[in-house]
Subunit: 383 residues, 2 copies
Amino acid sequence: MNSYIQHLACSNCDATYPHTEPQNVCHLCGKPLFARYSLDQLKDNWKPDDLHTRPNSFWRYKELLPIQNDEDIVSLGETVTPLLNVNRLGAQLGLDNLWIKDESRLPTGSFKARGLAMAVSKAKALGIDKLAIPSAGNAATALSVYAAKAGIPAYIFMPKDTPAFNQKTCELAGANVTLIDGLITDAGKIVANRKINKGWFDVSTLKEPYRVEGKKTMGFELAEQCCWELPDVIIYPTGGGTGIVGMWKGFKELERIGWISKKRPRFISVQSSGCAPIVKAWEDGKSDAEPWQDADTIASGLRVPQAIGDFLILDAIRESNGAAISVSDGEIVDAMKLLPTTEGLLTCPEGAATVAALQPLLTDGLIGPSEKIVLFNTGGFQA
Amino acid sequence: MNSYIQHLACSNCDATYPHTEPQNVCHLCGKPLFARYSLDQLKDNWKPDDLHTRPNSFWRYKELLPIQNDEDIVSLGETVTPLLNVNRLGAQLGLDNLWIKDESRLPTGSFKARGLAMAVSKAKALGIDKLAIPSAGNAATALSVYAAKAGIPAYIFMPKDTPAFNQKTCELAGANVTLIDGLITDAGKIVANRKINKGWFDVSTLKEPYRVEGKKTMGFELAEQCCWELPDVIIYPTGGGTGIVGMWKGFKELERIGWISKKRPRFISVQSSGCAPIVKAWEDGKSDAEPWQDADTIASGLRVPQAIGDFLILDAIRESNGAAISVSDGEIVDAMKLLPTTEGLLTCPEGAATVAALQPLLTDGLIGPSEKIVLFNTGGFQA
């Protein structure tokens, strides 16, 4: 027995769907589908000690992942990412217990590898033969290489000003790339409009049920690295927000199988002031976010004007007593220098945004000096 | 008890030196110094099973590393790099058992992290307060961030046409960068000329005794990943060649403590036809290499016209019954596409060079179809 997956269930209504055939969103209400597992059975059969002999990869959590047969796993070596103490940076800011989980160390240099490794593996298991994705950049790169590894054609739609690294890597991996005059949301509309005629399976985040299962492994790894006692605060750069949604889901699963207590970190979402729909919705007390107009930021991964999982992100922030905050591109640029000079850590702009948020969060009393705080650097520095 | 280091010994003559004070090359003959360990004592006290509870990092081999106190370790999370099966690529070439060790997954995206993590940790232990390096690019980036983490000023000298990624990262990390009109060998002369007046410690590879100790951990990891039975062939892109020298040294140490047999992989060194001093020396049957004139290649890491460890590289190639081969920049570019399309793996030009070498090596009978062959991808793709 490997995966304890049972079925897919709508995150909004009560509809359920078999996981043994391709699924996108709920047929009834159009909201994301979540994988559900036999957690009561798993609780009796799986213990943290069982992990000791597992590979150093998120595939070590296979009981809570949706892939049933090892031969369907499409892997490029998804090593567990390091959780690094950054107390010298912390000391400069008046924080005693500051950490960064460095996701740049995954294949393709970003956290997007988690979701796309999972989505492509499940696509392989289901015999899906064409994959299409709208992307702000790093997801396109990750899909391109995992699809290449699986031998499945990939169709990429992304803004024409997506970073050169993403454009070149998609081409190198042999993906079919279309650069568009617009943003990820516009790219998403193109995929939605053409997919039926073209026979593409849409792997847009949260319109596809398994990318979030990959993302939740950030939470599993963090929990294990913290000896199954979660930190006080997680500060997370938020574009599509699947990371927050995934970790929130993963923590609930870990509690249900008895591996962690009820204690949850407060989720603090960081966006760029040039594209901050989640921050605005949180400040306005809304449960959904309005599309952001004229989104513009140097952090390409944060240039997501509308996220299908907006209500899930906002739920996780509120249920966790978290917050949402925006930082300017100038503050992001400053943080991209502060982190390497103090800690030797090179980051993407999105990761640097979490560093930029620390001072205002401390000033506002949203984080405390002796709390255990974990930042997520979602990708590597690109010149 | 942690490290079993005893002293430093010249790789050429019989001179020995204490490791408890800063050392560069042998005072008598000018050749590289090697760290020597109490291997007989270690043989009785350390077994492979002891590794099971160690961190997933090259620091797991601390008995055979030169750092004596954990508090001197300067770490950015040096996770063990994955050894990836690439049998689809192998099948295209007629190779049954082909693997790539993907060094791009280390901090700063290259294998240079190994040597510089070790050199900076030892520098910290010895109280060295200024570090200078000539570099073709990736070593500069690695020194910059590890020095920043340690709080030691770094002085970088590299060609003015070094890739933008390297230039920008050194600046971000706050290093003192000088771009020169020349190659790494010219940069090395500047460091050599100025270091006494400036009070710089020279961390040029093999003029500093500990970078090679970091590099040998590639061999330790590979041996452990292969269950202590080494592959038939290692194909390695060779600039300064410290990787080959380090692995060769590491394998001897592992044999001395009884962890591996006498069996060694054949080392095959790959260079660019635009800069192939080791290949020429090997073909000419020389024990040292002549400086290469007008070195020019897109693989910046292979643009090393003269390596101080040339005689050690050539020794390892010959003792292992290996070979040396050059590939053209055009073949490197083709391989940079072949690997992502067949295996989803993005590489640096240097890593791609090892892929480009496979077909000619097979044609020449220098590798066999069913041999276990391991390529080293020494760094990540940069746009």
